[in-house]
């Protein structure tokens, strides 16, 4: 009834520490929603915590476009960077690994170990490249369900994801209503806005117009590095916000810019984005980028009939979180999902966090997000 009922921020946090990835291999043919198929598939994944005897404490985390299966801990002692959601996943953290068995897998179509366009087609001995079937968010989710089956898990405690992961999460709630106890979709929505599609296509055009792309048939260690870097730079701008960039970079200059050529790096923000672009090409495959962005552009819960009709199968309680400064997946797009769920009489909650860091806000540690996740998971 008053502010004293607010629990203090969780203390006594620990780390998941050293982790190793695993590969799940299905030798069965996998049929895509588009009609194509592949003879077998691999999903690379990590787990944290322990699956209980009843097998009812598992949480699936779905990653975003450029994310991967490594969401917490470190792979080795010299790895400087922890998993992408390390602050959220671990002992005593909102996704508490002392209570939950946490699974995070690289998506189907990905390039971090799961089967994707860059994988070798066992039938030809060559990479699929553009022969890889057209991919949808629903395909990603169905592949994940096979991984969940392999653990003997009938029902997940929760499915959680942000951005592309949020769309997978919604798809999980729609396609497998009996297999999840609750879900949390952060910074996502029912479909891309025209602006989001426009950004994605500009990125795709940067890749496709790079001569090194070679109609998708580049050698595994080569590829359209320039095009992919530009695509990443532009996409990265859409993950931030005007206010966030201003406070982080402003008009700060790199030192010694006077001696440089006119179009060399002059401002900090240029340096940052070029670094983002250059490092992205070392870990990401251009064809995967094309496939995943296209899957996101086509994702549309308003289709084939209406948003309400699509969401009518949902049974689990859901939490949808929008971020005020997110101009890629704006609050309105998150809100409309909950409005539809409430029209249908579902148990759904919408929260909107006032954070300055744009779309990527869900990847940042914020006390209110912490509270929200913690409370929703333990209710």
């Amino acid at each position: 009834m008053n502010d004293s009922e607010q629990a203090p921020l969780i203390s006594d946090e620990g780390e998941v520490g050293f982790v190793e990835y695993q590969d799940f291999v299905s030798k069965e043919p996998f049929n895509f929603e588009s009609g194509g198929s592949i003879p077998e598939l691999t999903l690379r994944y990590e787990t944290y915590g322990h699956l209980n005897a009843a097998k009812d404490n598992a949480i699936l985390i779905c990653h975003a476009l450029s994310g991967d299966h490594h969401c917490a801990g470190v792979h080795g002692i010299d790895e400087r960077k922890q998993g992408w959601w390390n602050f959220m996943v671990g002992p005593g953290k909102p996704i508490d690994t002392t209570r939950y068995f946490v699974i995070c897998s690289n998506v189907l179509g990905g390039c971090q170990g799961s089967t994707g366009p860059g994988s070798i087609n066992p039938e030809t001995g060559k990479p699929y490249n553009l022969d890889f079937p057209k991919l949808t968010v629903r395909d990603m989710v169905r592949a994940q369900s096979l991984l969940i089956d392999s653990f003997g898990i009938d029902r997940l405690h929760a499915v959680i994801g942000g951005s592309m992961g949020g769309m997978q999460t919604l798809q999980w709630a729609i396609d497998f209503p009996d297999r999840l106890g609750r879900y949390i979709a952060l910074a996502s929505g029912a479909r891309h806005t025209a602006q989001a599609i426009a950004f994605n296509d500009t990125g795709r055009q940067a890749i496709i117009s790079d001569p090194e792309w070679k109609e998708g048939n580049y050698e595994p260690d080569q590829g359209p590095a320039q095009g992919l870097a530009v695509a990443r730079m532009m996409a990265h701008i859409t993950y931030l916000s005007d206010v966030g960039m201003e406070s982080k970079f402003g008009r700060k200059r790199r030192s010694g810019d006077q001696s440089r050529e006119h179009f060399e790096v002059e401002f900090e923000v240029e340096s940052y984005l070029r670094y983002q672009g250059a490092s992205f090409v070392t870990r990401f495959d251009a064809n995967t980028y094309l496939y995943l962005t296209k899957a996101l552009d086509r994702f549309d819960l308003h289709s084939p009939e209406s948003l309400d009709a699509t969401l009518s199968s949902v049974t689990a309680p859901g939490l949808v979180v929008g971020f005020t400064s997110d101009w890629l997946y704006p609050p309105q797009g998150n809100r409309e999902v909950v409005e539809a769920l409430l029209r249908l009489g579902k148990d759904a909650t919408y929260a909107e966090l006032a954070m300055d860091f744009g779309h990527d806000s869900f990847l940042l540690r914020a006390p209110q997000l912490y509270e929200l996740m913690h409370r929703f998971l333990s209710r």
């Binding site: 009834m1 607010q6 909650t349 929260a351 006032a354």
Partner: protein, 203 residues
């Protein structure tokens, strides 16, 4: 559930009496979701709360009450007619920007609407202004004007005039005296500290 002993829960029992078993209930300005939790336990309702404040939504999440953070008016606009059996405004109307339009929307989206509010014309409130030149501060409204939400208080007479002008049907009403507990029947505009209405639209 603790017995209802708090003044701020004055209208709980009355609203619970009006709500039917299993109703779909929308609580506008739901705060921490206490009323919806109460109705869920008493009448097994499907309830949704709406509040603008994230902190309140956090409490609703803790209570297991579905909640929507956002603007009441634009949220109501996304619902079809009679989407809810009951729409509740418990000490909410006085904080609305466009009370007239939002109440009309509430009556469209809800088959019945409950409105509870503090009677501005209650004798103590009059005396406080007349003799002290200050508004009433009590356990529910403990904060001085500069720390509280903007509010547009009104009286029992003013509200009934409004219902009359808008041809809103008052199906039932309860006046509570200054303690917000015992009922008062005479001279409500002067004697009621709190008033609760069960409203319906003519159709």
């Amino acid at each position: 559930m603790k017995p209802i002993d708090k003044k701020r829960q004055a209208d709980f029992q009355i609203i619970a009496h009006w709500v039917n078993e299993g109703d779909r209930v929308l609580d506008l300005g739901c705060g921490r979701g206490v009323l919806l939790e109460y109705l869920k336990q008493k009448k097994s309702i499907y309830g949704v709360g709406v509040d603008i404040d994230l902190d309140k939504i956090l409490s609703c999440v803790k209570r297991g009450v579905p909640a929507y953070q956002g603007d009441i008016r634009s949220m109501l606009a996304t619902f079809p007619d009679d989407a809810f059996d009951r729409v509740i405004f418990s000490r909410t109307v006085e904080q609305l920007d466009d009370a007239d339009a939002v109440l009309a929307e509430g009556l469209r989206v809800g088959r019945r609407v409950a409105v509870g509010f503090v009677n501005k014309a209650f004798w103590l409130n009059r005396l406080n202004v007349l003799f002290k030149g200050r508004r009433t501060v009590n356990e529910v409204y403990p904060k001085p004007w500069y720390e509280s939400m903007p509010t547009n208080p009104f009286s029992v007479a003013e509200f009934e005039d409004y219902c009359d002008a808008r041809r809103i049907v008052i199906e039932d009403k309860v006046y509570l005296s200054g303690d917000w507990r015992s009922e008062c029947s005479k001279f409500p505009n002067l004697m009621a500290g709190y008033a609760i209405y069960d409203l319906a639209s003519i159709d």
